[in-house]
Symmetry: D2
């Protein structure tokens, strides 16, 4: 979790946000069977059941227990089961085995949600201090983050099923096309980076500060499937010159030959989507590639990815928001970054090594959970997010 900044929110608005967020999590699970709530397909994903309980545990632990008098803990075991970051060897073992915890049942998890919601509604009917309001806002944003993960993790699990389950026929998420094209030119100079104003943000966006940017241009469009297929067909995955050394090991060890969820059937490209197995639309925007692939593609184009600072400066003049866009920036602290005290601060800082920043938002991102200064981050080999490529370059040119 991470530090929350006090924001000016009226309680009734906060109450509405809380209800909407909680309801949206449950609406995302409507198409699921109970079986779908259980598995954890790979260590970096979580079972839907666990996610629904974990975001609830957050409200219970950081808000109800300390600030709601007479709060009745729902179940004494749940603090242990749904606490994601408390660090002991034993706990780590549990983390990789979330998919093996068949109990509590899905029904019990929903009862847990109801129990916490009832107390939260009581709390939200009271006049709340800015600190408590801020914590509730943080809990809402935390649940929104897990809503996106719920979707991407579910896709990962469903894709392993040889029968290609359909989550929902209208929930494809990867059919959209670019609405702009050409290059946006930005002049060199000192720019300000980082969050400002009263709105919510995470601690890693704070500490507005200056950076010097040299002239650059950035593409108004994201890379399409057709453009990426050209890279594949030009043996992009077999030419080590385009790849980082660590990337090349990853390609060879895992025999990577295309984006995640893609497969070739009788010479045609298909991909698994949450609407089932679909033919790949050439003009749709590319998705589900790793940083390694994004960098290799850019190298093949004789271009590069933008830095996260270039992206933030340019973003006010760009269309963005249906794909997370890999930047060339390693995820590192801003000047003056400081970690909040206690468990609430144990989140963003500890991932500031070996991960790359993504900017923007994806079609799976919850409404209201994106902004120009938002810093997403993942290890460079991960493909399971709705991640795409925006190109940049120093000199004037054209794709």
């Amino acid at each position: 979790m991470n530090m929350v900044r006090p924001t000016q929110t009226s309680t009734s608005l906060l109450q509405q946000q809380y209800q909407n967020t909680r309801a949206y999590s449950e609406s995302l699970c409507k198409p699921l069977h109970i079986e779908d709530y259980v598995p954890q397909s790979v260590a970096y994903t979580s079972p839907p059941k666990w996610s629904l309980a974990h975001v609830t545990w957050f409200f219970e632990t950081f808000i109800l227990k300390p600030y709601m008098p007479n709060y009745q803990v729902f179940h004494p075991d749940f603090n242990f089961l749904f606490n994601s970051y408390y660090q002991t060897v034993g706990e780590r073992a549990v983390r990789a085995q979330r998919g093996l915890m068949t109990r509590p049942t899905v029904e019990e998890v929903y009862a847990y949600r109801t129990h916490v919601d009832e107390y939260m509604h009581k709390l939200l009917n009271q006049t709340l201090s800015p600190k408590i309001q801020a914590l509730i806002t943080l809990g809402i944003n935390h649940e929104q983050q897990h809503q996106e993960l719920l979707i991407t993790d579910l896709k990962y699990t469903f894709a392993l099923n040889p029968t290609h389950p359909v989550y929902h026929p209208d929930f494809n998420l990867v059919t959209d096309e670019n609405t702009s094209k050409g290059w946006l030119h930005i002049n060199e100079g000192v720019y300000e980076i980082g969050h400002q104003g009263d709105g919510f943000c995470y601690d890693n966006e704070l500490g507005r500060h200056k950076v010097f940017l040299h002239d650059f241009q950035i593409c108004k469009a994201l890379v399409t499937n057709a453009e990426y297929i050209a890279f594949i067909e030009d043996s992009g995955y077999r030419n080590f010159n385009h790849w980082h050394d660590d990337a090349w090991s990853w390609v060879e060890s895992n025999n990577i030959q295309h984006p995640l969820y893609w497969q070739k059937i009788d010479g045609l490209w298909f991909h698994y989507t949450l609407a089932g197995l679909k033919a790949i639309a050439p003009d749709a925007i590319l998705s589900h590639i790793s940083y390694y692939e994004a960098h290799a593609f850019a190298s093949w184009k004789n271009m590069r990815l933008p830095t996260e600072f270039e992206w933030e400066v340019a973003s006010h003049q760009l269309d963005w928001g249906k794909r997370w866009e890999w930047t060339s920036s390693a995820y590192q602290p801003y000047p003056n970054f400081s970690i909040s005290e206690g468990a609430i601060g144990e989140y963003n800082g500890k991932f500031m090594v070996n991960q790359m920043v993504l900017r923007g938002a994806s079609a799976a991102t919850s409404q209201g959970h994106s902004r120009h200064t938002y810093r997403n981050f993942f290890h460079p080999q991960l493909q399971w997010q709705y991640s795409g490529i925006r190109l940049a370059q120093q000199q004037v040119g054209d794709i």
Copy 2:
């Protein structure tokens, strides 16, 4: 699967056996929640959902499809999903990921069972050739094997849950004590080994043949928890002299210090059982040890395990049947062993390396699924069966 021998069974008896076996599988699942049907905790176990479908697939594939005119296959994907042994690289990948297949649902699997049962009942009402009767008997025995695995696999999964779920308060299975003691003496000579008579047996029991046994004596009682605790307290797990070289690597790599499911709480030994976490009863028979541990314990006692031939000869004068008993015999073919043609024969033979024979039966073994000639077998490090120790030695002595 494995070869079936024609047996003299009346169709009505067979029908009864079929119904009982199918009903027993479902009764074992009565205490389960839907979530419990899903996970596969480790590669050598299977999810209950998969087991229920796989044994059904057996009847569909080897009996209904070839011998039931107009049989309607329940679902075309199921042959792929519930076929355990057809060997391709892709299929292997599926094997380790059975716990990630959330679909078909539990409800669909029960519908599959009902569908197959209906056709099987029609078939069983007809006059059946000995060959078909034999195949049905094989299917029944196959389902009985999976009933035992369903219990042991479920215990493995539940044991990983820090909340110690109770499967059923009356289903402890590990509280029984020895009813006999002392040694049984067997004289040297040529003995006959292997199955004879009309009853059902697996192919690995066939080929009745002679072996020469030297004088030996075998313990009438199995090793108790108290006796094994003495081994632990005498630093049995820290003294490499008692262990095979491969066993010692296993002990050190996995930091093995006690039987599976045991833990020490405040100086007292407890173990997880299907009735929940229980204090260990000193006089109850030991369970859940690997061959490596059984051998080390015997070495510490200056004794040895019996060979499977010694066990078979002695078994007619012994109490047995609540624990699988590790023998000192590697699992190898009998003289004249031959593998049946086709998929039905692809089972017992291919495991005849690196595994050790267990004789007897456990409290989890289905009724009617044990006999003096039955050869069970597992890799020497596996602990998750209800496995115990019976000692033997060459010279006259006493424990």
Copy 3:
């Protein structure tokens, strides 16, 4: 190490044996450069430098230190460095890193040999008790075992060098052909197995005992390269029906497609030998196959491997001794097997799980180090010994 049986050897004969054995080890190293003494290519091999020192350490530790008054230990560190089996975690770490111990130098190891030899010569000029004579005989046999390993381990290392180093142009070892053909028939009955008489043997051969054998026939010839190539060309490595389950995992995980040291160049089979890279002679006897491969080949022929008892009984009427012959027997103790006390007994017993027995001897086996009752053993996947295949079957037939 392993128990030695008192033997009737005159001291002068023993002195001769000692000198011959020690000299032969050094003559095997004549073609080496200092660099060749250093590496350990894989955990189950040893560097030549280590082997030369380890066999010397044996004489120092078990004979000179206890029985030679005023013996001066050569170097206090050597007990730690060249002791192969003393079991602690730290020592294990050293075992896999023998190839990284650049010191002591080769020159120092030869000085160590000279030092120990001088004391041994003094000792051998005295009248020795049967016990000491027996220990020296054991030391001689121990060094002979390591002579064979020195050859096979060196081949393994040289084969990894893309330049195909020539150890010696006359030391090919794999060109010999069969001198007999057809089948030898053995009648059923009780046979005696195990060592008898006054000669040296290892503890695992002791305990002469009876076994019952059924009628069988065994091939007078070993399988040739041409026969094995037919198996390869019939897709033997791609047909899982011939392979044990564990074997198939090994084939797939390691992409095994032929015996060790083989490669196909422009459609022709070559193999690395200690005389360099050579074309494979079709009529020469096959070498460097694992048990898994031996079993699969036999299955493809619709035959089987002999048991180690069948081999021992038949061996008096067979030509054998240029290849180790995989038997179908798991390596297990004979009735009445007992382990010697102390470190001298810490050898044969602890390998009696997960390994298969080989009988015979190879072209790399030292002279005088083979007999009808000798039991060699390795894990079933290992190929680096000069190992071959002799077929057997129950019924009368012909290859």
Copy 4:
């Protein structure tokens, strides 16, 4: 390899530099026995024999072959054996097995050096184009880099030997103490970063560009052993709050408890040095820590590491040069970074992910091989370089 910039060097000076560099490599090997040249202790190190040949291969491949008429290649196999980066699967396999290539011998490698030196001397007596001069300068710098690796790799191998070999009694390298203390303050502003002028530099230093730095202060002294011992004694390795998430996994998986080469004997700290095992001097500068440890220590001090830009700006007012100093900057390209064409350019760019920048130089760095703009880089878990910690912070304070 990496791009070289044309530099204004007279040929006679270049000749002198060449001779000095070549001679220094061989003088570093004077204390070695032939055995010491052979092993590769871990994948990221190289055997001394390989290093000596590889730097020679560089001159042969990029200078003599293309620019020296009538050059006779020393041995056709050497291009394959000593080429470090040509990327194929087979070549990769060779990379991890450099320590198993016993041939060519050390003597042959020295003959290779002599052969190439003779031709290089002839070439250096001629008038050379700036391009060839630049390539020779690059070759010299390349050999200097390998001189440092030769020292650090040798230390890694020797340290694994339980007998603590002494490379040279005067070559300790880790006894020096700080000569300054207190903080250096730097004001915010736009600064220029990157190489300028005519001197040699690597491609990753090029593209002088502007960065904006905020006010900061940087420590004039490096962290001492005593300060780091205080971290250890305050349970620094057991408190996950100080560690990155990936770092914590590394600490736990590898049971890291102290810097590389340290051990506690009877309550006192010792470390292996190239002068043998020595007591740790409290006031000497800390060495052999990973980035993960550097970051955790800084966190424990409530400070941080400097960025590489802060370091470069401050370095003109700091003492530096006996330790590589971990910065908080991920290794990434400068604006306008471009990769040279062909194999000569296949080096720096491909490591620009997952690695951290170190600035400064160590006591093992060759003379003339350090500058304010030099960017060294390693994966964050590596400890085997002479790496230390310099602290920085935003606010005014004191250690």
